[in-house]
Amino acid sequence: MNIYINGTGCISPQETAQIGPLFSTLKEYDQVRLQTVDPDYKQWIDLKQIRRMSRVVKMGVGAANLSMEEAGIKMPDAIITGTAYGCLDDTGVFLNKMVSQEEQMLTPTAFIQSTHNTVGGQIALLLGCNAYNNTFVHRGFSFENTLLDATMILREGEAKYVLAGGLDEITNYSHQILSRFGLYKKAPVKTMELLKSPDRGTIAGEGAAFFVLSPEKGTHTVAELAGISTMYKPLWEGEVIGEVVKFLEEHAVTLEDIDLIVTGRNGDIAQDEIYEEVAAALFPDHPEACFKHLCGEYPTAMAFGTWMANKIIAEQDVPDAAMFYGTAPAKIKNVLVYNHHQGTHHSLILLKAC
């Protein structure tokens, strides 16, 4: 059974919520923390409900609505979300109040809104959707396992339209903590210079990308989700290379069939090494596009990468801002997205034009 991407929606540090060519209005940053460009959420959310929603909830609801609008559906048969950090901001608010108010007189809203499945729940509440609703909190595999669950549900014939997405937010607290771990650059870096920067660390990011998946093509369908694979803590680059070869064989695609690779390079010289090695071993002459200089690093950034790959297939063009190496062919049919998060969570997604 083929699984088609009938609609997509993305809210990110780029102006991805707007209709128009991919990255036609590129947002260039010179900082180590990228925040989403927020559309007017009131177009989807009633004022009485929006007041309780933190940014991550709003961006999730917004991206979900964008994807359903594109797919031309009003009600999905399942809602599946993937998030590593969940609703961090409200978690911070709630925990702060617990400390400052000595566990007394805690307000309910921040607690209610602080769980990881708040976004999936809010989408369902706004739609009045009582169907299957699940949230995967699997660190760097949260989005990938969301897609895996969606494909299984569709293959079992339990749903016709599955709304699946990945999202994460960065807050002041989480940014400070992750900075202390040495994840980010010490000094601001320009967007278009990140991938060439010669030192450790990357830039923090956030965003939400949703997909309406279905075994039936819609009017805006341009690609099918042909395959997903994850690898946890590969011991060395040979394991990743072997997994890529096996993954492509399983989906009846040769290395030559791949028209474009999209990688999760993030400008950290230590973390980007594996992309160099995989590209050198398997795709030395293939064009390569990247996405994390545009959206920043976060555990579900693969959702942005997948969204971008789908848009590239739709437009049959790779914007200059995303191109890393080579020239895209005139026809872009098979796109392999390879990403890893923190060197531990490696994943592959294959999109085929249809």
């Binding site: 009485k48 007189m105 309910p108 209610i112």
Partner: protein, 83 residues
């Protein structure tokens, strides 16, 4: 009552609502401001935080939280008792 309105707007994060938009006798729930059960819990916390008032009998809730005026009257009565 103006202070109480400002406190409610802040506590409930009522975006785009100004104190003067809330009538003293307008119902807070359903019609009027359109608050819901989660807001009721927030209002109970507001009374505790700002006025050190605990609602002993939950059945009084609908009566106390009917409008700004009923809330203000309840606060005044409780403060007199405490004094």
């Amino acid at each position: 009552m103006a202070d109480l309105k400002a406190q409610i707007i802040e506590q409930l994060n009522l975006q785009e609502v100004k104190p003067e938009d809330i009538g003293n006798d307008d119902p807070l729930f359903k019609t009027g401001l359109g608050l819901d059960s989660i807001d009721a819990l927030e209002l109970i916390v507001l009374l505790q935080q700002h006025y050190n008032i605990r609602i002993a009998n939950p059945e009084q809730g609908p009566e106390i939280f009917h409008s700004i005026r009923t809330m203000a009257e309840f606060i005044t009565a409780q403060q007199k008792q405490q004094a």
